[in-house]
């Protein structure tokens, strides 16, 4: 049976490296207060929906919201798969 929460020792990756359809839990994020208002906070589950072409933004599902995150910001958010 798959565990709901992966063990803490699992390596973290940046949000931008998640493939479409992959999920993860936010472990570390930059000091941008708007992120928390958009639902991206420590411990939150996120799912990658799309990554736009030309190094465009990533689109995530956070709860029932579709959030657009700049690729440069996504590279500074660490998540645990």
């Amino acid at each position: 049976m798959q565990a709901t929460h992966p063990p803490i020792s699992m390596p973290t990756v940046t949000l931008s490296t998640l493939l479409c359809g992959e999920e993860g839990t936010v472990e570390l994020l930059p000091d941008l207060s708007l992120l928390s208002s958009l639902g991206i906070r420590m411990g939150k589950r996120v799912k990658m929906i799309a990554k736009c072409l030309a190094n465009g933004p990533c689109i995530l599902h956070v709860g029932d919201r579709a959030i657009v995150i700049d690729r440069a910001v996504a590279e500074r958010i660490f998540i645990r798969k």
Partner: protein, 579 residues
């Protein structure tokens, strides 16, 4: 006893996240039409109106939506923060039922101001359709603030909200439960939501039917189809309306009757010519604004309103964000650019939702230079569409290319860091027919008031200037430029002069001129890039400063004439070589 019958007029300030329906509630309460769309940043300024509350008439203010009070990300959002310090008598806070977390966070920050507040839990119909049931009493009890579930287009819910407002104004109660620090707020919000939301929807809905609109390949493919259909509808529907309904009425019945009446009752030659001659006010003053331009205004606003209300525009903005960043802008710049195809003035005002002044000026310059307004677009389609669809697509292709090049050059001239793109995508919605119809009708009304009437006045004066020979004299004076450089007939100076007043007047007089295809395209390109109308120049001065307005005036004039002449010579040379 406190009462609403006070001498000082009371003021209610509306606050909430972007795109939660504040303006829709405001419209219902004040009977004022304000722009309502399904994307964040529709409201970019304070809108003020009056509503009846109990026995009183109170002032109500709608401000741009914002996520946090400690972080306004653009000029429009800063307006909302500043308005809190004006000490309103009450706050009508619009809580988003489909985005409770962020809404509650902002509400907690607002409650810190200790201003009497009533909360409207709006869009509860939408959350209900998504399988959620929200117990609003949890928020009311926990925060000690009145909460009323509302649906902006349902009168009974709005009446209940009014009653709660009357109560708060008569006996203000600001004994709110306050929170210290973000961490405490988020913890309490999560606790409240767990208790209030009975049937949380699947956070990762595998059946998200609109995801293909934002995935890179399918999204771009769909964008091409949607924009292609939009363009096709604007041309096809407008042309059909014009050819099969309006022109037969005007040319087949109205004009012959007007001509017969004038010939019978007006004996004076000059006056008769001014009424029904080459620039005859009675003929052109009706035909140009209503038979040539209006059909395309209708078809354009139908499509633009559909794109706005469905929630597609922010998806397009996200898809194009990576490309826009290469010219120093964010993808949301596409919204003012598209609005510019309607009218440049709201487009320039919509730049307020962009993250920096530099970005605002860049987009405003791009709109002024290479985005034809709906009246001018209608004139282009009417003029070129009949002669050659290739010519029409060529002119619009040049418009898009000029936008890209202008953006690129402006970025190179003044390199600035591009702000991060952080936003929420609104849900895709089916536009409500009544709201949609009202919006299109209001936009057509604005066209008649702000577009057609000035056009008719300009045609009136032109008719007399033409009959008195003034335009002929000016035409001769401009001959070296018009005939020498642009290779157009001398009378083409008239539309150039008229174009300063109204953009479409730089195109419409070309109808009656005997031009070849190269001359038609040359004149169309000059008209495209030429000076934006007087009203747009005034808006640029108001939104930025006189220097920007004068700069745009000079830049567009010089660039239009230079590019027009360049095209005329290049096309003539190519024709000589290949024919």
């Amino acid at each position: 006893m406190a009462t609403t019958h006070t001498h000082k007029q009371q003021t209610i300030l509306m606050m909430g996240l972007p795109n939660v329906g504040k303006s829709a509630i405001f419209s219902r309460y004040t009977n004022m039409h304000v722009s309502v769309s399904n994307y964040p940043g529709t409201t970019v300024e304070i809108t003020e109106g009056f509503m009846t509350l109990g026995a009183s008439r109170v002032r109500i203010q709608d401000v741009p939506g914002i996520y946090r009070l400690d972080e306004g990300t653009d000029a429009a959002q800063q307006v909302a923060i500043d308005m809190l310090s004006t000490e309103p008598d009450a706050i009508l806070f619009v809580l988003d039922a489909v985005n409770l977390e962020s809404s509650l966070f902002l509400l907690m920050q607002v409650l810190d101001y200790k201003i009497p507040t009533v909360v409207a839990l709006n869009r509860s119909d939408l959350s209900g359709r998504r399988g959620q049931h929200i117990d609003h009493r949890v928020f009311a009890t926990r925060l000690h603030v009145p909460v009323v579930p509302t649906v902006a287009h349902e009168n009974d819910t709005l009446d209940a909200l009014k009653r709660a407002l009357v109560k708060q104004l008569e006996a203000p109660d600001t004994d709110y439960i306050l929170h210290v620090g973000d961490k405490e707020r988020w913890t309490d919000i999560e606790r409240m939501i767990r208790r209030a939301v009975k049937q949380p929807i699947d956070p990762f809905d595998p059946h998200d039917r609109t995801a293909f609109l934002i995935r890179p390949v399918s999204g771009l493919f769909m964008a091409l189809i949607i924009l292609g259909l939009t363009f096709g509808f604007v041309i096809g529907f407008g042309m059909a309306l014009r050819q099969f309904i309006l022109l037969p009425i005007f040319r087949g019945a109205l004009f012959p009757w007007l001509i017969a009446v004038v010939e019978r009752f007006v004996a004076h030659d000059v006056l008769r010519q001014a009424l029904i001659g080459d620039y005859g006010f009675l003929i052109k003053g009706i035909e140009w604004p209503f038979a040539l331009v209006l059909p395309y205004v209708i078809s354009f606003y139908v499509m633009l309103s559909l794109l706005e209300d469905s929630g597609y525009l922010p998806r397009l903005a996200v898809l194009l964000d990576g490309y826009f960043k290469k010219i120093g802008l964010t993808g949301t710049s596409i919204i003012p650019l598209l609005l510019g195809y309607g009218c440049g003035i709201p487009a320039i005002m919509a730049t307020r939702s962009l993250p920096s002044r530099t970005a605002r000026i860049r987009v405003a310059v791009m709109v002024s230079f290479a985005v034809p307004c709906v009246s001018q677009t209608g004139a282009f389609i009417a003029l070129l569409g009949e002669k050659s669809l290739f010519a029409l697509f060529f002119v619009f292709g040049v418009s898009v290319l000029a936008l890209v090049i202008t953006g690129f050059v402006l970025d190179k001239l003044n390199k600035q860091p591009v702000p991060f793109t952080l936003m929420e995508l609104p849900p895709m919605l089916m536009p409500k027919p009544k709201v949609f119809g009202k919006k299109v009708a209001m936009r057509i009304k604005y066209y008649v008031k702000d577009g057609a009437v000035p056009m008719i006045i300009a045609i009136f004066f032109t008719a007399f200037l033409y009959e008195f020979g003034v335009l002929n004299v000016l035409g001769r004076a401009l001959s070296p430029l018009v005939s020498g450089w642009l290779r157009l007939p001398q009378e083409a100076a008239t539309p150039l002069l008229l174009g300063i007043v109204r953009r479409e007047l730089a195109v419409l007089p070309l109808f009656d001129m005997d031009l070849n295809m190269v001359q038609f395209i040359t004149a169309a390109l000059v008209a495209l890039f030429y000076v934006p109308c007087i009203a747009m120049i005034a808006t640029l001065a108001k939104e930025f400063n006189g220097r920007v307005a004068v700069g745009v005036f000079v830049f567009t004039t010089v660039a239009a004439l230079f590019l027009g002449g360049l095209f005329a010579r290049t096309a003539t040379l190519l024709l000589l070589l290949f024919t």
